[in-house]
């Protein structure tokens, strides 16, 4: 439990985490400003929140989720901090082998990386939610669950990619590339139900929250967990 506490505290000290939040806020409040200036505001805060949120943020959301903490383990690998942490944990669980300790450490980190992605998208969304609530009626509270699941899924995939390559830019950029490729391909593959931007902005096609919105993030999180557990690059600690 101490590891989680310490690691979650570390997330809030990372510049990349705050940069991600600032970029997310710029995209969201830019959209809100545009909607307020372009439309006749009719106190439909639920509609306003959805329209403003769907304007720009959905197209950069995987990058924002991956930015805060996904490649931290690569930095730790370079500075040998990861090896130090594993050694420290080996001291408390001597019966376990080093490779098991390494995997255990990686999987614990998986959850904090997922939380960092979720928090990076949730915080600006919560701020805009509050502003919309002040401006008019309360938007649907369930909409705030979407940035959390979306951020967790894409950050988890990004983290998994750190175990199958050596370049630091790949885990940051690859989720965004896959996302854009899926945006291009899904409509032609008759997978419109799982169109990725709808997972964070159901308002894009006027739909409501259904269980479909959680399928792709869950698949991504599982893929990330699989790569984390079996990726070979992790042996380079």
């Amino acid at each position: 439990m101490n590891f989680f506490k310490a690691d979650i505290k570390r997330i809030f000290t990372e510049q990349s985490f705050w940069l991600s939040i600032v970029l997310g806020a710029v995209l969201l409040f830019g959209g809100l400003g545009y909607c307020l200036s372009a439309e006749d505001f009719t106190e439909d805060a639920n509609g306003l929140y959805s329209r403003a949120q769907a304007l720009a943020l959905p197209f950069a959301a995987p990058l924002l989720a991956a930015m805060p903490y996904s490649v931290m383990i690569m930095t730790e690998r370079e500075t040998k901090f990861g090896a130090l942490m594993i050694l420290k944990q080996s001291g408390t669980h001597k019966q376990r082998k080093q490779s098991k300790q390494s995997r255990h450490y990686r999987i614990k980190r998986f959850f904090t990386v997922g939380l960092s992605g979720a928090a990076a998208l949730f915080i600006p969304h919560a701020a805009m939610f509050a502003v919309c609530a002040v401006l008019g009626n309360m938007p649907d509270i369930r909409l705030l669950a979407l940035p959390v699941t979306f951020g967790f899924g894409w950050a988890a995939l990004s983290y998994g990619l750190t175990f199958v390559n050596r370049q630091r830019y790949v885990p940051l950029v690859m989720p965004q590339v896959l996302y854009l490729l899926a945006i291009y391909a899904f409509p032609y593959l008759k997978l419109d139900r799982f169109y990725p931007p709808l997972d964070i902005s159901p308002a894009l096609n006027g739909s409501i929250i259904t269980t479909d919105r959680f399928v792709l993030p869950a698949v991504l999180a599982l893929a990330g967990l699989f790569l984390t557990a079996f990726g070979k690059e992790a042996d380079r600690q």
Binding site: N165, Q167, R168, Y169, V177, L180, L181, Y184, A185, Y188, L189
Partner: protein, 254 residues
Amino acid sequence: MKKTKSLRGLRFSLTEHIPAARWCLALAVIAFTATVSVRKYIDLAETAAFSSFEAMFLIITDITNIVFIYLPLYLFTVCGIMFGGDFGGIDILRCGSRGRWLAGKAVTYAVNTALFFAAVLTANLIVCSRTFEFSSVWSSGFVGFRTMTGSPAADFSAPPLPTITGAAVSALLLYLFCGMINMFFSLLTDRESTALFVSLFAGIALGLLNMTEGSNGLGSQLLRCLALAASSGAAYVFALAAVSKKDLGRVKTG
């Protein structure tokens, strides 16, 4: 002796630094994109019947495919070529000179570009020929559809095969130019990621200019090919100038 060293250096460059994992990923994405592209044109074919060559022409002149999907994928596949073998340290000794080492790298880029393009064309041609019927002439429905969407009728004055070949060679030279830019910036920055992004943005800008300005007729294609070949040559000369001044012993790649 010189010839032997050049050949040995070239063979080394071609065979030692094959990014196998990236090639596997590239082939998977190419196959996937080819399938999706053809599905897109199946939907369009409901308004005008296409032949397999006409569908190929649409794919090879589609900005989304050529500039936004295949170009980043191509650069991701080749951007590690310069960084194999500890950035030239031992390779240059093996080749005998920096110029020969860079020439080997340039040929490696060219071979990878040709292979990548062959894979793109083959995958799309296979899917197109299975989906659409073969015809060696432009159909009136297709020409009508294209002219209605803004293409000049002069684009279709030559038969489909030479027109598609012209468009494919133009796109191939665009990719080669991006490869040369990537080589140049790899030498300048020593960082794979920086070289990748700089060459990607240059390639997207030039690709948009190349594919939106002018017509797709054979004459225009030829002019584009000449301009792109000259630009690739210029980028190689810049890279040659960069490698002659570079202190390769102190390079820390990333």
